[in-house]
Symmetry: C2
Subunit: 246 residues, 2 copies
């Protein structure tokens, strides 16, 4: 059987998230599988690099699937984009070795989180950022980013209750850039726990707003207690930028 890797961009606004939910046509995975089944005549299941939550967007989600279809990669790309809704776009289709697995083989991921930092909301950023009226302190937030970078046990920065598997993760870099009132927080790491970006982000923002002190980060690393960290920020500001493979 052939193994096909696809790179996907989607606007998550209208969807319940990546993961298929029964027959719902409101999930990204479900939509792509339905079109693949239609194109190939086979019952196809795709494996994503990971889930994204309802409302979260992707510029470079990756998935793979097995098929006996003789359609070329170019033909698959065209057919997918022909039948998929306008807010789910397949950017690339590649034939990969049989052993390639979009989730197990991922060696890194990059997410971006956007914040609209102005007392007046934006008509364009409503579904693509989190609106914060209060002026945020960039210096304090940068210090918080430095504390979060590196290798730590991130259990307290996740929605996991407990985990049999390790909750130690390595964050390569968290960088803040701004374009006018729109702040972009870029998270690069080998892997992230469930809700980890949204909880780190909530903590960084509360430090920037002055409602939490930066030393809370060490507290959370030590106590491994979710409730000590900041809020979980809304999903709509989050973008999965890309997934890396060796």
């Amino acid at each position: 059987m052939r193994n096909i890797k696809i790179t996907i961009e989607y606007d998550g606004k209208r969807y319940l998230g990546w993961q298929r939910l029964g027959d719902s046509d409101k999930t990204i995975q479900g939509r792509i599988e339905a079109v693949l089944t239609q194109i190939t005549g086979e019952k196809i299941e795709i494996i994503g690099s990971g889930r994204t939550d309802a409302g979260t967007h992707a510029r470079g989600q990756v998935a793979n699937f097995k098929t006996d279809s003789p359609l070329t990669s170019d033909k698959l790309l065209n057919q997918l984009n022909h039948y998929l809704p306008w807010d789910i776009i397949v950017k690339k289709v590649e034939e990969v070795p049989e052993r390639f697995h979009a989730r197990y083989n991922a060696t890194g991921k990059q997410y971006s989180y956007y914040v609209w930092n102005n007392p007046i909301p934006s008509a364009f950023e409503r579904y693509y950022s989190h609106h914060i009226s209060q002026k945020l302190d960039i210096t304090k937030m940068n210090s918080a980013c430095r504390m979060l970078e590196g290798t730590h046990d991130f259990l307290g920065f996740s929605s996991l209750k407990k985990s049999k598997k390790t909750t130690v993760r390595t964050i390569k870099a968290i960088t803040i850039t701004s374009e006018g009132d729109l702040l972009q927080f870029k998270f690069e790491g080998e892997g992230f726990l469930y809700n980890m970006v949204r909880i780190m982000m909530g903590t960084i923002l509360e430090i920037g707003a002055g409602t939490l002190e930066a030393n809370i980060i060490d507290d959370v690393f030590m106590s491994k207690t979710r409730k000590n960290a900041g809020m979980t920020v809304p999903a709509q500001g989050l973008f999965l930028d890309c997934v890396e493979y060796k």
Copy 2:
């Protein structure tokens, strides 16, 4: 009576354009007037700097209205944004001299038009740009911009049949910038005729695609004939950036 100037940002996607149409709640002007009437208890009519078409966006549309309301500018701003839908945002409210008129006093306008130039569409730019698959020649388009700049009779680059008033206009600059596959065409001028930006843009794009020669621009200036110019590009790529006043 007080004279109030407002600066407005809107996502035109869900609307039939700026201009009020009977009782429709699908126009920007109609929506703002309805809210102002609700806030002030007066029947209020607003004067925009000019119309925008269905689907066209604005980052800095300007309008003014007369009122006896004692509400401060800050209060008006808050109340407007409280009652307006999320995709119409009032960015600024200012009290201005009685003689200020948003249309007659405008001394300049800036529009931007966006083109997504990649064979594969974008999930995010669908309603905010015009999608062109074919690679565009930036050098040729820049030459076309140079020919359009300056003072000319733009009748042939408009949807006007004839005009008793002058159709001579001055374009200060047309500049092209790119961010990845997204091209931004910025038009700065003292004023524009009906559909003038969209027809100039269609002409520039056809020159960039090689289906029209650059000398067509002189032809259109000389012949003043709309049909010699390029297509009228779709409204959704167009943004009214700002309106200038002395």
